[in-house]
């Protein structure tokens, strides 16, 4: 059973106004929210403009407080639009998928945790922390929760705040335009923004709601090219767009408008145009109306995807194509005729495409509109586990992990040493940080054990979902330290590219050449198991990959509350080719709903049997918020392979979600 994700409302806090009415009227007037930055000193920087949330231009409170405020405003606005009472969410099997990327001391799931609590969202709250693709991916994953029947209502979106350090990092990289950015236009560089946006996505027919649009599909990919620059030939963007079209069951001719990432930088705009031409061909591509909302809203980072999609929805509803504010003529290498009129241009269309790209090479595209799907959703495929790799002190294999389970002995002290350059002699590992090193080691080992060689099209059909809580401790220290020592005018840019929680996933994908669907997510404690749950659901439903590595990494963060006590990483290869162990049941529910999650897993398995083994995270590794649940899954795989049991349950009460996975030896299923 598959449910179409209906969009029944949305809300924003943006540079063009708080509330969607303000946003709409500003968009229709062709206004821009970019202005000289007044919240903080910009004298250390080359650029001095930004797009702050209207009314908050001078508000220099703690970014976490602003994050929460923007998020609350947007959520309230969305609920109002969808005609849902505040507080009614508790009874509605509601979930939250949030794009948010933090690089301070805060653990990345804290924003989702706090908002879910405030708005009584009892179901799972999943945070996607892939910087500029965060909210785009959050929307895709949110739609999946509806499709899979894991939630009846999802608030999907993203939040970001423009802080001095964020500004400093981008400015130092030389990608900011001194004047307001002109995507696809004559000025090079982008302008940073901020804001929050949420969509209300629901299962149709459950209540008397207006469906404004349907989320038809999404596509994910990785460039596996560079930490900050996109693949100049746009191959990753093209793959994400094609993936979204395939997921939507839509042909390229059906797309009536494209809201591009269009940051205005040299690198992005030309690569994106290459991608459009590659997917749509020169004729269709040349005729496709394209614009970028960043001229209005700036680059809202983790909120870019949702705000840009909402801008499109607002205009679509009025029979208009959003325009590109500030456009005065096309740049060479970009689309020759983007929509660049002063105000949105009249256009009737019922299917739109929106795309975003991020540091680390992540790309995500969405297809949405009033055109309903004409074909049935595909059958769910069975998913199997083919290999696992585990790494920590005292553990360098799943066998050693089994010994830990048996003996419950504490891991040895001292620094975990790995010689990644011997394992990957063909890869330039200079400058790799700790999280990237650990993630790459376990991912490479697991794929090796699974017999997956990343060659040819296998690269595009292999995905990577990383679950973790924060950026690599060493990179965070280097970046923040550089600002402390050298001031905001001279941050360590290499470290800046690495502080994002998604940097490790990007570095691993680049090192191993993994170009398929990928993301970095967190639910706080239990993130590793969440990665596995997400990977399993994606493999079951989608057709764009044959295997996805679900991985987790923890880097010791002694002085941070809830930080990992030592370094660890774990990776599991999930695949659609039958192996000895099947992922027979998966459950996902709210943080206080562990029983519900287990019941879901049991029911999706479809058996009355209770699993023989119940595997918990190994006690000695309790201090590993992301990895310990992943260790449990790896151990379950090992146990079933060894014949210790035929069925196993791995469950976790994570910080913002509860999860359960039931593994079954495939001989059992054949008997049934």
């Amino acid at each position: 059973m598959s449910y179409a994700p209906h969009i029944t409302g949305w809300g924003v806090a943006s540079a063009l106004g708080v509330g969607r009415e303000r946003l709409r009227s500003a968009l229709l007037q062709g206004e821009t929210g970019i202005a000289p930055v007044r919240r903080f000193e910009t004298s250390p920087f080359k650029a001095h403009v930004g797009a702050m949330v209207a009314g908050y231009e001078l508000d220099d409170r703690d970014p976490t407080a602003l994050c929460h405020e923007f998020g609350s405003l947007a959520l309230r606005d969305a609920l109002e639009h969808a005609r849902l009472d505040l507080g009614c969410l508790r009874s509605r099997r509601a979930a939250l998928t949030l794009g948010a990327t933090l690089f301070g001391d805060e653990s990345t799931e804290s924003v989702a945790r706090d908002l879910a609590k405030k708005f009584s969202i009892d179901g799972p709250a999943i945070t996607v922390c892939t910087a500029c693709t965060s909210s785009t991916q959050a929307i895709g994953f949110g739609a999946d929760l509806i499709r899979e029947g894991l939630a009846d209502l999802v608030l999907a979106g993203g939040i970001d705040v423009l802080t001095p350090k964020l500004f400093a990092g981008f400015d130092a990289l030389g990608v900011l335009s001194e004047r307001p950015c002109t995507p696809f236009g004559l000025q090079m560089g982008t302008t940073l923004g901020e804001g929050a946006g949420f969509l209300v996505i629901e299962r149709g027919g459950l209540r008397d709601a207006v469906t404004y649009a349907v989320l038809r599909g999404y596509g994910l990919s990785g460039d596996a090219f560079h930490e900050t620059s996109p693949d100049p030939r746009g191959r990753g963007v093209a793959a994400a767009i094609q993936g979204a079209l395939d997921d939507a069951g839509a042909s390229k001719a059906e797309i009536g408008y494209f809201n591009a990432h269009g940051t205005g930088t040299m690198a992005n705009d030309t690569a994106e145009w290459c991608a459009v031409q590659s997917v749509f061909g020169s004729e269709l591509g040349g005729a496709l109306p394209i614009s970028s909302s960043k001229g209005h809203l700036g680059h809202a980072q983790s909120a870019a995807g949702v705000l840009e999609m909402i801008a499109t929805l607002e205009c679509m509803g009025e029979g208009l194509a959003p325009t590109t504010a500030g456009f005065q003529g096309p740049r060479p290498g970009g689309p020759p005729r983007p929509v660049g009129t002063k105000k949105p241009r009249p256009l009737a269309y019922d299917l739109a495409l929106s795309s975003n790209s991020a540091f680390g090479g992540n790309n995500c595209a969405l297809v949405f509109g009033s055109a309903e799907p004409t074909s049935e959703d595909e059958e769910r495929r069975p998913v199997f586990l083919s290999a696992a790799a585990a790494l920590s002190n005292s553990v360098s294999s799943v066998e050693e992990l089994a010994l830990i389970y048996e003996s419950e002995s504490a891991p040895t002290d001292g620094e975990l040493e790995i010689d990644l350059s011997s394992e990957l002699p063909r890869v330039d590992l200079r400058g790799i940080d700790r999280a990237s090193e650990l993630l790459t080691a376990v991912t490479s080992r697991a794929l090796g054990d699974a017999g997956v060689r990343l060659r040819g099209t296998v690269r595009e059909r292999t995905g990577l979902i990383a679950g973790l809580l924060r950026g690599s401790t060493d990179s965070l220290e280097r970046f923040h330290g550089s600002v402390d020592r050298r001031g905001l005018g001279a941050p360590d840019t290499t470290a800046f590219a690495q502080v994002l929680p998604s940097a490790a996933q990007g570095a691993c994908a680049k090192a191993l050449n993994i170009r398929g669907p990928q993301s970095t997510i967190t639910i706080g404690e239990g993130s590793g198991l969440m990665a596995a749950v997400l990977s399993a659901r994606m493999l079951a439903r989608r057709r764009d990959s044959d295997q996805i590595v679900a991985a987790a990494v923890d880097v010791r963060a002694d002085d941070v509350e809830g930080g990992a006590l030592f370094d660890a990483a774990c990776a599991l290869v999930l695949c659609t080719t039958p192996t000895a162990v099947e992922v027979a049941g998966v459950g996902l529910a709210g943080p206080d709903q562990l029983d519900e999650a287990i019941a879901q897993a049991q029911s999706s398995w479809g058996s009355n049997e209770r699993p023989e083994l119940v595997i918990e995270p190994p006690k000695p590794f309790a201090g590993l918020p992301a990895t310990s649940s992943c260790f449990a899954l790896a151990h379950a795989l090992g146990s079933l392979r060894r014949g210790s049991a035929r069925t196993a349950l791995v469950a976790s009460k994570g910080t913002t979600a509860s999860l359960a996975i039931i593994l079954v030896s495939t001989e059992v299923n054949h008997d049934n």
Partner: protein, 96 residues
């Protein structure tokens, strides 16, 4: 060696060694500074630095030598190799 030649060489070598050290640290190379050829290209081929490394290098050169490259339109011609960096530093110091 005449005095001014030996003085010139000594100045140059001191700067050369320091620049090699900065490069080694910026790029986290696991080699001795002497193993960085003074005429090896820094970008594209050679040491294989990229634009992100370049930003950090420019910051370091400013911090250690007061060499301001960030706003110079010919910045890209001054940091093509270690020797070109040393040339730029010596020029700033009036020692060339």
């Amino acid at each position: 060696m005449t005095t001014d030649l030996s003085e010139y060489v000594a100045s140059r070598v001191a700067i050369l060694d320091r620049v090699r050290q900065i490069l080694r640290d910026t790029m986290k190379l696991k080699i001795e500074p002497e193993a960085i050829d003074p005429d090896a290209p820094l970008f594209g081929t050679g040491l294989g630095m990229d634009s992100v490394d370049a930003v950090e290098l420019v910051v370091q050169l400013d911090a250690v030598f007061g060499l301001e490259l960030a706003n110079s339109p010919l910045a890209s011609t001054k940091i093509r190799t270690v020797n070109t960096i040393v040339d730029a530093i010596m020029e700033v110091r009036g020692e060339s």
